[in-house]
């Protein structure tokens, strides 16, 4: 009907150029705040690189905030061994290249004593070589697929084996043995799906089918049909990111009401608050922490939740990773106090001696219980919870217990103080059913 004076070749060429320009544009710019001043004998410096804009802003922002809360509390109570904590805080904008630049800056120019950085596993793997080359003490605080056995990395978030390990057996018991897996199509999702197979085998359940979904996908019509065709007793969902969040709304409107177990939904991106009920009804999350975890030190008067929202009244939610940032800052404090120095090899030795935290510093643990850093694997024996959302999106705890991280210690034989290495082990190497 019309005759554009511009050819489609030009359109294509120009669009391509724009995409490249767009990508380049993403890595430019500076964000975040910083309180860094010149170091003195009475201070130590912590690097905090968490996403506050870009794709992971929703989940990364609470991490940065919780780190700052812990640091503020520690400083107000006299610091670490009398040393006030300074911070080098920047926003890497969910961009791995930016992460690499900022990691180098933190290590080489800011001389941070310890570094907290990164939401996604892809980010961790992008900066881990830099960390290892510089022998930098590094805390990775996101829940992840597991298996990182690295002498300088403390992966203190819960692993897939811990998260799925609490929720999957419960769902088999409650609803039956037939599982259908949907997972994000990358490293984390693939490995999590392998863990579902391993755990299914251990619990006499079977995986009827699995589908891996590209991170850019936001239409789930055919996925929903496929689940209906398989007719499982429950679905295990390890979907990731904002596009995948659309799945829950779409399955609700399509009338798919099968129970869903997950390690990713609710605790990180608070879908039960953002989506209209009943999209998240009957979803069981296996997590170490979410805002609703009913321990006294968390939801009680003056607890973690109160303190967080007092400092950040406009924050939308206190998520799983935020608690990990929070307690790991205290973990670091204990280690420095034990070592009597901020020299990193000695702090790492102190951390490897096995630090324990009670409910005050780690609100995921109920009164009288502790969480423990396993010195051999640099992972944490978390107190895990199954949290269920009902028709009105009220969240309640249906089960909780401590789950040690056994894959690295028992299966892979990771023992970092004895045998320093920088490896990531995967379940495929050890379990037939994961192949």
């Amino acid at each position: 009907m019309s005759r554009p004076s511009v050819s489609r070749r030009q359109f294509l060429g120009a669009s391509g150029a724009a995409l490249v320009a767009g990508l380049a544009g993403c890595s430019a710019g500076e964000g975040g705040t910083s309180t860094d001043t010149a170091s003195s004998a009475e201070t130590l410096k912590i690097g905090v690189l968490e996403d506050q804009s870009g794709n992971f802003a929703l989940v990364g922002d609470p991490k940065a905030k919780a780190s700052m809360l812990a640091i503020e509390e520690i400083n107000a109570n006299g610091g670490i061994d009398g040393m006030q904590i300074e911070t080098f805080q920047r926003d890497p904008q969910s961009d791995n290249q930016r992460y690499q630049e900022l990691t180098r800056t933190a290590i080489n120019e800011e001389n941070v004593d310890a570094l907290w950085a990164g939401y996604s596993s892809a980010t961790r793997e992008a900066i881990r070589p830099i960390i290892d080359r510089n022998e930098q003490l590094y805390f990775y605080t996101t829940q992840y697929e597991g298996g990182v056995c690295d002498e300088f990395t403390f992966a203190v978030g819960p692993t897939a084996r811990q998260q799925l390990g609490i929720v999957l057996p419960y769902l088999v018991e409650e609803f039956g043995p037939d599982i259908y897996t949907i997972a994000a199509d990358y490293n984390f999702g693939q490995l999590s799906a392998d863990w579902v197979k391993v755990l299914a085998n251990e619990n006499d359940a079977n995986v009827l089918g699995e589908e891996f979904i590209p991170l850019s996908e936001s239409s789930f019509g055919s996925t929903i049909n496929r689940i209906q065709e398989a007719d499982p007793d429950f679905v295990m969902s390890m979907l990731v990111g904002a596009n995948h969040t659309s799945f829950y709304e779409q399955k609700a409107s399509a009338g798919l009401d099968v129970p869903i177990g997950t390690s990713t939904a609710m605790a990180q991106g608070y879908e039960h608050r953002r989506l209209d009920a009943p999209a998240m009804a009957n979803i069981y999350a296996g997590v170490n922490y979410m805002e609703e975890v009913p321990t006294d030190s968390n939801t009680g008067d003056g607890g973690f939740v109160d303190r967080y929202f007092e400092k950040y009244p406009d924050a939308p939610y206190l998520n799983e990773e935020a608690e990990t940032n929070y307690f790991s800052t205290y973990m670091y404090k204990k280690a420095v106090e034990q070592a009597g120095t901020t020299e990193q090899p000695e702090v790492i030795d102190a951390l490897e001696s096995g630090i324990e935290l009670g409910t005050e510093e780690a609100p995921e643990a109920p009164e009288g219980e502790t969480i423990r850093l396993d010195g051999a694997t640099h992972h944490v024996d978390h107190h895990m919870w199954i949290m269920r959302a009902d028709e009105e999106h009220n969240v309640e705890a249906v089960e909780n217990r401590q789950i040690p991280e056994t894959f690295l210690s028992e299966t892979a034989g990771c023992n970092l103080p004895e045998n320093p290495e920088q490896t990531q082990y995967t379940p495929v190497d050890y379990y037939e059913e994961a192949e």
Partner: protein
């Protein structure tokens, strides 16, 4: 095993998604020669406007959806006046500096892209600053329809019907109304149209408004089924650009045909082999189409027609 109803519904779903994602972009590109890289953010404006109208003002969804379209259309007209045609800044500079400072961006592909890309960055980050990383979503109306072991969201079928309705309406607007005649005259020969008394400036402004309005309407229509966040426009970009390229020079027919072809490919492959293969098939189809139909489907049809005329 492939269930026929599943396949048909999946096709309607993909068709609606592609057509709605591409319509606004196709009109603005086809008629004005402007590639609007802020297309996704126009969708964002529509989605946020309708969602916030429901959650904060209590307006029913059926009313909030057109509001989303209208607000985005108005924003589009503002964009056109300020950035694309430069009429507003030029009005100011005429009075202060005695000269124009902005050359209109019509038919300046690369320039229009840089300008609109900048606009898209401002809109995304501005939304993040104003509303945070996410706002509360709406639930999808109408519930499911059930057939055998399967069920499907009724709203997705409504979306398909709306997309066909929009195509028909746009076709009617540009071919059967006086506005459409003037708009097409402006495209074919701006000078002559001017001489015949067509206010071409106004035509450009309205066309951009209509294109933006369609993008906003798309956002408002999809708001109940997608996640509300500042980057929600991104998920429409691949489909919209691929559909415009595959569709070719004729705006409405091209969008309809590429929606049909690409929708069918997406539906068949994602039903048979999963979402991942569906995506790959869509992009491979676009590659093949570009290699063998470099002027898109409608360009190819026109070529055929010309050849037949010549041989007659």
């Amino acid at each position: 095993m492939v269930n026929g109803i599943n396949l048909a519904l999946q096709f309607l779903d993909s068709f609606a998604f592609i057509v709605l994602a591409a319509a606004g972009l196709a009109i603005i590109f086809g008629i004005m020669g402007v590639i609007n890289l802020a297309h996704g953010e126009f969708i964002l404006i529509g989605a946020y406007t309708s969602t916030l109208s429901v959650t904060h003002l209590g307006i029913p969804l059926a009313v909030a959806i057109p509001i989303g379209g209208v607000v985005t259309a108005l924003f589009g007209i503002l964009t056109e006046r300020v950035i694309i045609s430069g009429a507003v800044p030029n009005y100011v500079s005429q009075r202060t500096l005695d000269r124009d400072i902005i050359e209109p961006l019509y038919d300046r592909l690369a320039d229009s892209m840089v300008a609109t890309f900048g606009l898209s960055l401002i809109l995304t980050q501005g939304t993040r600053i104003a509303f945070g990383n996410s706002i509360d979503g709406l639930s999808t109306p109408f519930g499911p329809i059930e057939y055998g072991a399967f069920s499907y969201s009724t709203y997705r079928i409504v979306l398909a019907a709306v997309s066909i309705g929009l195509l028909v309406a746009t076709y009617y607007l540009f071919t059967r109304t006086e506005f459409g005649m003037r708009a097409r005259a402006t495209i074919q020969d701006k000078e002559t149209a001017r001489a015949m008394g067509v206010d071409t400036e106004r035509m450009y402004m309205l066309t951009f408004g209509i294109g933006s309005g369609l993008a906003g309407l798309t956002g408002a229509l999809f708001a109940p089924v997608i996640t509300m966040r500042p980057t929600l426009g991104d998920q429409f970009l691949v489909e919209s650009f691929v559909a415009v390229v595959v569709g070719g020079p004729s705006v409405v027919l091209g969008t309809a045909l590429s929606g049909g072809v690409l929708g069918a490919i997406l539906a068949v492959f994602s039903n048979l082999y999963g979402t991942f293969i569906g995506r790959i098939a869509l992009l491979v189809a676009a590659l093949i189409a570009l290699r063998f139909l470099p002027d898109g489907i409608t360009g190819f049809i026109e070529q055929l027609r010309k050849r037949r005329q010549e041989s007659e």
